[in-house]
Amino acid sequence: MRIFLYSVETSLKSLWREKWINLLTVLSISIGLLIISAFATITHNLDSVLKRWSRDFGLVVYLNDGLSKEAEDTLTAFFRHDADISGIKYISKEQALEELRLTLGEQSPVLEGFEDNPLPSSFELTLKQERLDPVFVQRKASEIKRLNGVEEVQYGEKWLSSLNALANIMKVSVVFLGGAVFIAIAFITYSTIKIFFYRRKDEIETLKLLGATRSFIRLPFLLEGLFIGIMAGAVSALGLFGVYSLVMSKVAGFLPSINIVMVPLPLKAYMPAPLAGALMSFLGSFVAVGTIKY
């Protein structure tokens, strides 16, 4: 514990002594983290839009004309027992006509031309949130279409596919960009710690000759890398908070619709950057210090 405290003291002193190179390292890392945080935020917002939209998403199951009450009840029971379906709404032919009349408004007299009600009765099915994957929805629609008494199944497949594709592209981009940025962070810290290591080569040699163990020599460097990562992460989290707040408050003034796509970020959204920065910086310094030979 005393060695740990001494190492903390040594690394903090070194951070201060080499403040300019450390500042540069912190800023470089925080810019990288800010870029990845921005991407992650956009993805988060896109995901939120998708989720909100999907709350109203449903399959419309049109029934054959003249389907008996028993057959409709069988279908209702079937849908009720389906674990993927979270909501069922039955719309009779009459209700459908009434809804259409309301939708048409002043032009509703056009419906007077029909002798019989041309609209079919239908079910509006809401799928569970976690089931809103285009491939699954398509399979489900085909499955339902094969049921007795079902004429047609409709859903917003194009919208669902496009939004899902966009969200997936963003997620993949975040993973790739994140990977590249994290490697860059590790490399930046590696270079900085390597410089410090070489600068203190004589000191390290003296420590070895005085009987210092490997961990005694390595710990201050590892802690220094860790502190650099945490500081860079904190700077990037503050930057994200600042930019996001600014966009939400200022842009919303002349572009109110921004609030539809931007949701307030939860506190935990600011945590990954410092943690990732700390972890990658620690790894970078770990590699930089390498093996100490006696």
Binding site: I3, R17, E203, T206, L207, L210, G211
Partner: protein, 220 residues
Amino acid sequence: MIRFTNVSKSYDSDIVLKDISLSIEKGEFAFLTGPSGVGKTTLLKLVYCAERPDEGEIVVAGWDLKKIKPGTIPFLRRNVGIVFQDFRLLMNKTVFDNVALALRIHDMHPQEIKQYVGDVLKEVKLKHKENIFPQHLSGGEQQRVVIARAMVAKPTVLLADEPTGNLDAETSGAIMKLFRGINAKGTTVLIATHNDSLFHGMGRRVFYLKDARIEKERIE
């Protein structure tokens, strides 16, 4: 305390030490002498494992250096205080911190470190300069800091490589007095020097190195 048996060491084709056998007993004060470049420093380095022998056996304070693992070397070195020829003081640390470093490595309590370092700095008459950085000290003062650092952890063996190299006669005398004091407390002391005035009339064992071998060994 220190035993060499048929030890040889060479760098590429340059034979530095050949078939060295010597034994220094616990509590002894011995000297190693010979002209510059004869291998005195290499012999000391073999004692604290900074160099490994090509042949032969070395035992220091009970450690068989032929079998010692790299991870154990720091613990051997904690038993061996070293006064380096080039001092090896850390210029970004004060006199106090330079000396305290040897104890911090031992994971000693800060209060004890303060006590031990204070005592040893009094002994080398540098207590009043404990907050000074080494570059502001004279050569003799720097040498005393190095001695303080070597003795503060109370090692069983103390090695000194040309400890009076650039010092005047008066300062050299003061330094030798310190070594005698350390030896009087039971520490085995081995000093490598080319300056024969340091051991003349002291009644101590002296090993003479010549042409990579121990030419003679006698009490001076």
